[in-house]
């Protein structure tokens, strides 16, 4: 492989419900910075059915070129169809770096693409940089459950690929004045070549709030002792308009569902306020919440690691503290109602 032939930074533009998803816009921001440092162009690749209009949006967020594969065969995300479009495009234009959001779609697609291209893929990257001279992508990520950070390089193969966690890099301000080129690529796939079919998509009727979008999170851990403890913090959460999360221990004990797990193997969250109640603060939990705006920890054990990661800490029994706090908010609410 002649790596000199590979040039430019690419971002996979994932979209949902007619809009580019936030992590892809964030990656355009990060990609812009890498491209400027390297002095190379930034491009996006957009695949879907009736998605061409989104290309302008990608340009407004920093892309110079958007390659578009617009065809009914791409109506639903399917690994095999999307992968073939991506591989064809990479072989045609040869980017040096290719970033995907670390979403279920991004990870699924990138894993398949990396195997076929026989190139390196770093998962769940949280820090990105590029060496301006060598062009080596420095993709750093937590490993071993967040116990260490590791910087991964891919020296001999191209493109250098990484999936990047949502909310670890910033999108640029949207600027509709930015200009760029939209290139429509031919689609040479036939439905009969694709071995999977999406028969149906079922959306939960009760709109579940996504933890990674919550403004306030009240999270509980092993210290809550059981479901009763979670009912208690649920009550508090309700009072202050928060969502409830849990540590891995709490999820594994079955006190709260897996989709609400905060941490390395769960969701990464950045709420304005994060309450960690009865959570010891294992490193794998900390990596998932340490960028929260205001972190408040309540734990019986004064040596708990969570106190190193919080802004304000209370050493005490959650079963005493939380109801008092709930009551304090209740009272304030009543006052507010009274005074209009």
């Amino acid at each position: 492989m002649n790596i000199e032939e590979y040039r430019g930074i690419w971002v996979f533009l994932e979209h949902k419900d007619g809009a580019i998803v936030p992590v892809s816009l964030e990656l355009l921001g990060a990609g812009r910075r890498l491209a400027d440092k390297r002095g190379v162009p930034l491009s996006g690749i957009l695949i879907g059915d009736g998605v061409k209009g989104l290309a302008a949006e990608a340009i407004a967020y920093g892309a110079e070129t958007v390659y578009v594969y617009d065809d009914p065969i791409f109506h639903h995300y399917r690994t095999e169809s999307y992968m073939r479009a991506v591989i064809a495009c990479v072989e045609k234009y040869k980017p040096e770096i290719f970033l995907y959001g670390a979403t279920s779609t991004g990870k699924d697609l990138a894993s398949a693409v990396a195997t076929d291209l026989a190139t390196g893929l770093t998962a769940d990257t949280t820090m990105l940089d590029v060496d301006a001279e060598t062009g080596l992508l420095e993709a750093s990520r937590p490993a071993f459950g967040g116990n260490i950070m590791a910087t991964i390089l891919c020296k001999k193969d191209r493109p250098q690929m990484a999936t990047v966690r949502p909310k670890v890099v910033k999108a640029l301000e949207r600027d509709p004045e930015r200009t760029g080129e939209v290139i429509e690529e031919p689609v040479e796939l036939r439905e009969e070549d694709i071995r999977t079919k999406v028969l149906d998509i079922v959306r939960h009727t009760v709109k579940k709030v996504r933890l990674d979008e919550a403004d306030i999170i009240v999270a509980g851990g092993k210290g809550l002792g059981g479901r009763v403890g979670f009912e208690m913090i649920g009550e508090f959460a309700k009072r202050i308009g928060a969502s409830v999360g849990g540590s891995r221990d709490a999820v594994e004990a079955g006190w709260i569902e897996h989709s609400r797990q905060v941490g390395q193997t769960g969701v990464t969250v950045t709420p304005k306020i994060y309450f960690a109640i009865g959570i010891s603060g294992a490193i794998q939990h900390l990596v998932g919440m340490q960028n929260s705006g205001l972190i408040i920890a309540i734990n019986k054990d004064s040596n708990a690691a969570i106190f190193q990661a919080c802004h304000y800490g209370i050493v005490g029994d959650a079963f005493e503290i939380v109801p008092m706090l709930t009551e304090a908010f209740d009272q304030a609410l009543r006052e507010e109602v009274k005074h209009g």
Binding site: T79, T103, S104, K107, D108, S111, A112, T115, D116, A118, T119, G120, L121, A123, D124, E138, P142, A143, F144, N147, I148, M149, I152, L153, C154, T196, K197, V198, L199, D200, I201, V202, R203, H204, A214, D215, A237, K238, I240, G241, A242, R248, E257, H258, T265, L286, V287, Q290, I295, F307, A309, Y312, G313, I314, V315, E320, M324, L325, A328, A332
Partner: protein, 281 residues
Amino acid sequence: MLHIVACIKQVPDTKIIKMNPKTNTMDRSSAPAILNPYDAHAVEEAVRLKARYGGKVSVVTMGPPPAVKAIRKCIEIGADEGYLITDRAFAGADTLATSYSLTKAIEKIGTMEPIDLIICGKMTIDGDTGQVGPGIARRLDIPPLTSVNKVVEMDREAGQAIVHRKLEDGYEVIQTTLPCLLSVEKEINEIPYSTLPNMMRAARYQPVIWSVEDLGIVDRTKLGLKGSPTIVAKVWPPDKPKGGEMLQGSSEEQVNRLFSILMNKKELFHKSGATEEGGVQ
């Protein structure tokens, strides 16, 4: 009769692994080696499918000789056979090299008995990537299906299966040809206590052990460190947070102090996005 192969890995229990504060390296001896928790669900699902449709469950892993213990755990769950591929040549493999080696083992297992389905856990808790499963599927040229949280039906005769793939706000129903590869979510099943016969069988069980030589035609440049495009250039401990202000006094005083801190930052309670239920506006 289905032949299902589950790919598994023995991992250090990263939940309790300790760091050596002097060298900033992991003290692996501090963490027991366990069957990757996600893989236990993969094996359990394979065992359930065997119960439903009849057949056989084989498990395969790559690792050092002590990984036999993880295979025994799978036998306890109900797997029938276990294969360990172990060789110095595999050392230092990243996900690309790992998927190559496991594919070679799976191909060999398949020559003895054709395979209908491959099941992997969502990811491992030490590598945390989830990349090996789809990699194996690509190498075998079968459909990879990740985030699977339900197997609705398998029809070996028709060569088709229907599964659910988890989405952020629901799931999709997928029809796929067989054979295929599923990476399964933890929620796909609950693992019951092992039965006594399985435990007894596991205690005595000796898996098939293969080295590189046993795997047939292997491109050695694709193995281990040599076959890995990615390298770990640097490892460092995550930033240590500096610690916050500990509130003092009685419980009541602490709560009052916290409450006034929060009230001084009242703007944080103004909502920008969706929230779950009602509450303070």
